[in-house]
Every structure is written in C-alpha cells, then in structure tokens.
C-alpha cells in the first residue's frame, strides 16, 4: 500500500552544523536523507517505517573529491556519476569506477551517493566490495567531532554498522600507496544493466614471479554484509599460482561465504559462481 504523505516529515536544515545538532538533540528521531534512490522506493511501496528525515543533499561539506599526494578523500554525497567523471579515480581506483558504472541507470547514478551506498548497508550493494579491496577508511562526523573507522570493521551484521544515530558518513578515504598490479571486479545480475546483483566479486593483488602478494578479496550478496574473504586471502597469501592452490582457495571460499536462497538467486548458484569468479581472478593473476 502507498504511504500517506502527511505522515512523513522531511526537513532541510540550513547547513551541516544545524543538521548535526538536530541529530544530537533528538537521538534516533531524525534520519539522514541523501539522494533518495533507496528510501523513495521503500516509501512508494509503503515499507518506510521511519517517519522523520533530514535532507542532507545540499551540504557542500559532504561533497567533492579532494586529492593529496598520499590519499583521496571522497565526500559522502559524491554521486556515482561524479565518481566516474573523476580522472584520478578512473586511473588509480578502477574497481570503484566500475562499480559506480554498474550501479542502476544513468538517472540512479546521478542521484545515488557513495555514502548512501555505505550507510544503507545492503549486502548486495555494488561499491562496498571495491571499497573493501581498497582498504577504505570511513570518516564519520557528529556534533562532537569526527572519527575514522576502517571500512573492513564497519559492517557488523545485517544492516548493523559501527555508527551512532547522531553521526553521518562524512568522507571516504582511499590510500594511493596501496600495492597492487592486478585488479578484478565482476557483478553478476539477471541482465547487464540495472540489475541488483546476485553476486559481486572484487579483488586485487600484486604478483611477482608467479607468487601472490597483498591479495584482497571482497564479495557482495553472499553473506549478511558485504564481506572480506580473509580465510581465502590467507590460503593465497605469498603462494605460487598453481592449480592445486586454486582448488584449495575455492574450497575455502565455499566454506567462508554464507549465501542464501532469495528472490534473486539461490545459495547453490551463488556459491558456485563465487568460486568460478575466484577462478577468473586467478587466471588474471596468471597473465
């Protein structure tokens, strides 16, 4: 059933400071509303239980992509379109740009934000696996100040995050010195464009003389949260690229993930495809 509009409050605080103060004064009462690409779908379906929102869309402090010699700082409200248009991200963080280009349609990419993809905390989100591979840091802001959290520790359970209800995702930090020479991203959905993923696989590694180093593997849609496959990484770490190693890594990955049957796919399919994608990444490391 469609939602009753008068029962939803949406305010536009005049600036970030005013919004943070409201979030502190009435904890849990107000929730942030950014590009709306997730929340408006729930609203129309009558499935948006929370009723009071603050529009943060126009806050300049949450926008922009800043570059320093060592790192990149991406404002939480950066859209998928802005991410794809950034030349440094295209050159140095191609997995993130690839994820942005495979998220929804052009219209969705013009409105959907990186911070929203993180804070909406869907296990099927497309950009988080790329952020996990790049060991991103999330900077949160509240009226009390800012703090940083390693993204790999951020999602603690289905829709649960290390984030308080008076905080906003402020910036996403990427380390430009992170070592890797092989990068892989593949999203498998029902159709090429505009599908929510059945499974998403992102990975990077450095390969020297047939030996794997610095391997990082992250997946979406195979666990209650987006997920770093640390056990599989351990099997692969510092090893030579051999077919027996791939078999061992695929077996570990199969145990490490916990996919489910749902409207988009089945656990059996997801596990098999995850292992096949690991094989494809292995082939890439071998070239």
């Amino acid at each position: 059933m469609r939602a009753s509009l008068p029962s939803y409050e949406l305010l536009a605080p005049r600036n970030l400071g005013a919004a943070l103060e409201m979030l502190t004064r009435e904890p849990g009462v107000w929730r942030p509303f950014a590009g709306g690409t997730d929340l408006m779908v729930l609203l129309e379906a009558g499935k948006l239980p929370h009723r009071k929102f603050l529009s943060i869309w126009k806050f300049a402090e949450l926008r922009g992509i800043d570059v320093s010699s060592k790192s990149l700082s991406i404002g939480a409200l950066s859209t998928y379109t802005e991410i794809q248009r950034n030349a440094i991200l295209q050159r140095e963080f191609p997995l993130l740009c690839r994820a942005a280009s495979e998220t929804g349609s052009v219209a969705t990419q013009n409105r959907g934000t990186l911070g929203g993809n993180i804070a909406n905390a869907s296990p099927a989100a497309d950009s988080p696996p790329a952020l996990l591979v790049y060991d991103a840091e999330i900077e949160l802001i509240s009226a009390k100040g800012a703090r940083r959290v390693a993204y790999r520790d951020f999602h603690t359970g289905y829709k649960k995050m290390r984030m308080h209800n008076d905080e906003l995702v402020w910036r996403i930090h990427l380390n430009r010195a992170l070592k890797r020479d092989k990068e892989y991203y593949r999203k498998v959905g029902t159709r090429k464009a505009q599908a929510i993923s059945k499974i998403c696989f992102a990975a990077s590694a450095s390969v020297e003389k047939g030996r794997i180093n610095d391997v990082r593997i992250a997946l979406g849609s195979v666990a209650p949260t987006v997920f770093r496959a640390t056990e599989t990484e351990k099997i692969l770490g510092s090893e030579k690229l051999t077919s027996s190693l791939l078999e061992a890594a695929q077996a570990t990955l199969g145990r490490e993930i916990s996919p489910i049957d749902d409207m988009r796919s089945t656990a059996v399919y997801r596990r098999r495809v995850a292992q096949n994608l690991l094989g494809e990444f292995f082939d890439l490391m071998n070239t």
Binding site: Y8, L10, A12, V41, A107, N110, R111, A193
Partner: protein, 165 residues
C-alpha cells in the same frame, strides 16, 4: 505538536519559467509535476526507479522524478518533455522519433526522448554503444529498441548538420 507534516512551497524554474509548487515535503516530484503543474508528459511506469518513464532533467542531469521528494527540488532548474521543443519547432530527437517510428504506445517516449536529448548534450557524437548505455535506464515494452536507437543516431547526425550548416 502534531506529528503530521505540513505542505511546503517549493520555488524552482520549470521549463524556463519561475514556478512555486505546493505539496507535502515527501511528495514525489513526479506527482507534483503532473498534478500541481499539469505537466502530464511526465509518465509513471514502475514507480521505483527502474523504467525511466518519469525521467526529467534536474539541474541539467537526468533523474527519475519518482525518486525525488519535492523538497529537494527547491531552487532547482527542471525540464520536462514539455520544455524540449522550441515553440512549434520540434527538437531533432523528437523529429527523428517521428521519422523513424521510435514510438509505439508512447508511455516510455517522453522519458526516452529526454534521456536521448540529455545524452547528446553530453556526447554530441555518441556511438551506438554509448546510446545503448545512455538509454539503458529507459525501458520500452513495444519497439524492441532498434527503431529508437536508429532515431537517436539520426538525430545525432541532424544536430551535427545544424551546427555545421
């Protein structure tokens, strides 16, 4: 204090003219454009950001108006299909849709045309692949897309000729 929201007034530029829209803050821009502004060229297809029938240009970018709460349109410049032609002079994309049969039932057409106009603004020499990607968020259940892509390719050539001529 009542828990019910009150209607707000949203000032924006609509197809080149200043407009004030009155609605509940969470009302979909789609509904406000149709019901308050009478711009019924904006169509509702899926209502969940999948089909692109409700596409409008907001500050120069294509968006799904079903996913925009009207409060976020404050101060924005909006163009709907009603603002694409110049008086009686159709846009090259509109003319090409007629010439090449790019429309059948018509529900997707306003969004499809706007998305194509926006794409050609960004990529005046779009390739077939870029056109297919640029319109991938606009679903059509009648044409099978071929005539739409042919029309947009033709519009691309016509616009080139206009600029050069």
């Amino acid at each position: 204090m009542s828990d019910l929201a009150e209607k707000i007034r949203v000032r924006c530029t609509l197809n080149g003219a200043a407009a004030t829209l009155e609605a509940y803050p969470m009302a979909r821009l789609l509904d406000v454009l149709r019901d308050e502004a009478g711009l019924t060229g904006v169509k509702e297809g899926c209502g969940e950001g999948e089909c692109g029938a409700c596409s409008v240009e907001l500050d120069g970018e294509i968006v799904n108006s079903c996913l925009i709460p009207v409060l976020q349109a404050e101060g924005a410049t909006i163009r709907t299909i009603e603002g694409v032609a110049t008086g009686d002079q159709l846009h090259e994309v509109q003319q090409a849709f007629i010439t090449y049969g790019g429309a059948q039932c018509g529900i997707c057409t306003p969004g499809m045309v706007l998305a194509a106009v926006n794409l050609l603004k960004r990529k005046p020499h779009a390739t077939l692949t870029e056109i297919r990607e640029g319109l991938s968020g606009n679903l059509c259940r009648c044409t099978g897309y071929t005539k739409i892509f042919t029309a947009v390719m033709a519009a691309c050539r016509d616009m080139d000729r206009t600029v050069e001529g």
